[in-house]
């Protein structure tokens, strides 16, 4: 039987007898005919007399009815459940009443307990049933230009192995794990369902080791946004908390001042210009208006480098967003701390090292700058460092 709003037209009439309130219908004598057209529709007659109710299906014409109600099956169910306003339906003629509609609107609520759609017993929710909904929850607009194979290895009841392939704005879910995978997530079935149902915070699950990630961690983190949130079928919607999403952006024009201005002029000439404190003699790079240690103005500039020695470095796997564009940088990348030749021994200079050099990066390594083809006096003039071998 065709369903509308989670129930059928027939169910409304099948439940009429048990919803009937005889005490309220003592003085009622009426026969009401119902015609629901379209798929899942039908004709019924309800006869109320002497405090009793008789409901019967009707083949053919509705006869002997003082009042008849006509509507498309979907409208019929919708109005009965209150999902569609009765007045609106009447006004727009989607619901038509032959006879006295007022009689119906006053009488029916009095003699019947309002109809409620039956609560469906949900199918047991497992990792398998949730994953089965992935394809229909996919948001292609969020996955533009993305090519990924995400493997799920879920152990336990309702678990299994699946690969989610995202390519060319499409999502395909296959049983089994393909090779190669961009990232593989391994966990117990109840951990997966817990995260999907919101009873287990994903970050907690990752951090406490309940989810193991093999491969590109950033990809694992990104998958959530490619899919709409899983919703338990048939669940009543919890009251939605309102949330305002806004990006605030205010354009800025930053002054460099003469000191940083000199630094950028130096870059344009492919030079690193530090400035030297007249009291303690340390070289500050990039140069600053004062020496913070000595509290004096610094006026002398001195060229340092261009080569230097690596004193420390970080290999970054978790990228912070690009502050200008908000985009997530490619990982891994490595900022290195370099004391440029001629600099004071504490005054390291930070810069990224060429990605290809990361595997051979050590403390003590010698590096040299990689300059942009065309330098303009901006931070883009230095592309990074590379090993000086």
């Amino acid at each position: 039987m065709t369903e509308y709003f989670g129930t059928t037209v027939a169910d409304i009439f099948n439940t009429m007898p048990k919803r009937f309130k005889p005490a309220e219908a003592k003085d009622v004598d009426i026969t009401i005919g119902y015609e629901a057209t379209g798929e899942g529709g039908g004709k019924w007659k309800a006869t109320i007399k002497n405090g009793t109710l008789k409901v019967e299906t009707v083949e053919g014409e509705l006869t002997g009815c003082k009042t008849t109600v006509h509507a498309d099956a979907e409208i019929f169910v919708g109005v009965t459940l209150g999902k569609i306003g009765a007045i609106d339906a009447l006004s727009s003629q989607k619901l038509r009443v032959a006879g006295d509609p007022k009689l119906l609107m006053l009488l029916l609520p009095k003699i019947f307990i309002p109809y409620e759609a039956p609560v469906k017993k949900p199918d047991k929710i497992t990792a398998r049933t949730i994953i089965a909904t992935l394809a229909e929850r996919f948001r292609p607009e969020k996955a533009e230009g993305v090519t990924m194979a995400i493997g799920y290895d879920i152990a336990g009841d309702g678990g299994g192995q699946w690969t989610i392939e995202i390519r060319d704005g499409k999502c395909a879910v296959r049983e089994g794990l393909v090779d190669p995978l961009t990232v593989k997530l391994t966990m117990a079935a109840d951990v997966y369902t817990g995260m999907m149902l919101g009873t287990l915070e994903a970050v907690t699950a990752f951090t406490s080791g309940q989810v193991r990630i093999d491969g590109d961690m950033m990809a694992a983190g990104a998958t959530a946004k490619f899919f709409r949130k899983y919703e338990v079928p048939g669940a009543t919607e919890a009251e939605e908390l309102l949330c305002l999403r806004v990006t605030n952006a205010i354009d800025q024009r930053f002054a460099t001042g003469p000191v940083m201005g000199r630094w950028f002029s130096g870059l344009r000439e492919k030079k690193f210009l530090a400035n030297r404190c007249p009291e303690c003699g340390r070289t500050q790079i990039p140069p600053r208006e004062v020496c913070a240690w000595c509290h004096v103005r610094v006026l002398d500039f001195v060229e340092v480098g261009p080569k230097g020695t690596v004193t420390n470095f970080d290999i970054v796997h978790f990228a912070s967003p690009d502050p200008l564009t908000g985009a997530v940088r490619d990982t891994p990348y490595a900022p290195v701390y370099v004391v440029l030749d001629g600099s004071s021994e504490q005054e390291a200079f930070a810069m990224e090292i060429k990605k290809e050099d990361i595997p051979r990066l050590t403390v003590g390594a010698r590096v040299r700058p990689v300059w942009a083809e065309k330098t303009t006096g901006s931070y883009r003039d230095v592309i990074g460092f590379e090993l000086d071998i």
Binding site: L244, I250, F254, G257, P258, E289, C291, A292, H295
Partner: protein, 382 residues
């Protein structure tokens, strides 16, 4: 309770500028710092010098999280204590006073900076000061909030375009004698009245111009003030006060917060009748109508009597805003410090062409928030 007093030993102002594109904050503050050091000889010595700094800046205007971090070097904060008043700058004086009186540190350096020219729009920033769901969405900012207040106040106090123009004309005349002011050109009343509407009833020339600036001060206890100056100016009264946030909850002409702040500051300074006992007033008038409005709140002008006050030459009589006031151009965040700086100069006899005689007690005022939600009052004495 303490009976100690706190002194302002020196003030230094960076000239207010419509667009200081060629200096960054560090450069501006270094100029101010060197001026203060030249005046007082103070150092950052661990034992005898400044080891606590109260800075003043705003993360939105600087477009920088922990905006004080950017100027740490110049402020002398390296291996020293530094706290940022993330609030209108005049409050830094009140807090610095507390730091000294508590016994925690002495002397204390106060340094504030702000560039309104850096962001594309200061109104875009102040719009973000309203709650995200209603005030912002409706498009409120400090300019149109002030305009709402202006409309209400003009009606209450019978102010005309002529009155507002008079305030601006006088401001420019004073600013012309102030080398630190931004807008110093003399204007005529007719030009003010004809200037285009920014936000009815506020016209372009009623509003303070976009400004960049920085102010520094050295404060010390009574015990140490004379190490740094032979003409200390005493901070004898200080208070601030918060009003309600939503404009609809307030009577925009009643000066609730300002009256309370003034009352508390006067009590601390032992002032019974401000009109008689205060010789000079610097109010933070971002818009022309605010001058008489704030003067009502401070008790110099009767309630609702703005028009008459202006007609009878009140501002001249009470030596209001001889610096040119905020109307002559100071950035938000530091405008209150500029008010205090002028008061200090006048009290010391260092106000040059603007100097008036017999200044023993002066008042510096600042305000922030929509339509003056928050006010600060400081009383300074020689």
């Amino acid at each position: 309770m303490t009976t100690q007093k706190v002194a302002i030993c020196a003030v230094a102002q960076h000239r207010n500028d419509p667009d200081l594109w060629h200096k960054r904050f560090q450069g501006m503050l270094l100029d101010v710092l060197e001026d203060l050091q030249a005046q007082t000889g103070f150092t950052f010595d661990e034992e005898t010098g400044v080891n606590t700094i109260v800075s003043c800046s705003d993360d939105f205007f600087d477009a920088r999280t922990i905006s004080n971090n950017g100027v740490a070097d110049v402020l002398g904060a390296h291996y020293r204590g530094e706290e940022k008043m993330a609030q209108e700058g005049l409050n830094a004086l009140g807090y610095a006073q507390a730091v000294i009186l508590s016994g925690h540190a002495d002397p204390v350096l106060v340094m504030g900076h702000c560039k309104e020219s850096q962001a594309e729009s200061r109104n875009a920033i102040t719009n973000l000061g309203f709650d995200p769901f209603y005030g912002r969405a409706v498009g409120l900012d400090y300019l149109n909030a002030a305009a709402l207040q202006a409309r209400a106040y003009m009606k209450k106090a019978n102010l005309t375009e002529g009155h507002l123009a008079g305030v601006v004309v006088r401001a420019r005349q004073c600013a012309a004698r102030n080398p630190y002011a931004n807008a110093r050109e003399i204007v005529e009343a007719g030009k003010v009245i004809a200037s285009p509407l920014l936000c009815d009833p506020i016209r372009e020339l009623h509003a303070y111009p976009v400004s960049d600036g920085a102010v520094g001060m050295l404060l010390a206890s009574e015990a140490r003030a004379r190490e740094f100056t032979d003409r200390p100016v005493w901070l004898t009264g200080f208070a601030n006060c918060m009003d309600s946030f939503f404009l609809g909850d307030r009577d925009l002409t009643a000066n609730f917060a300002l009256r309370k702040a003034a009352e508390r500051a006067y009590r601390k300074a032992g002032i019974g009748d401000p009109k008689k006992e205060i010789n000079l007033v610097e109010v933070m008038d971002a818009y022309a109508h605010q001058q008489p409005l704030w003067l009502e709140g401070l008790g110099f002008c009767g309630d609702g009597e703005g028009a008459r006050f202006l007609d009878e030459g009140g501002p001249g009589k009470y030596r209001v805003n001889l610096s040119g006031g905020m109307l002559a151009g100071n950035p938000l965040v530091t405008a209150g410090l500029y008010r205090a700086a002028e008061a200090v100069l006048q009290l010391r006899g260092d106000a040059g062409e603007r100097q008036v005689p017999d200044v023993h007690r002066a008042l510096a005022h600042s305000t922030t928030g929509p339509a003056g939600q928050f006010h600060t009052v400081a009383i300074l004495e020689r």
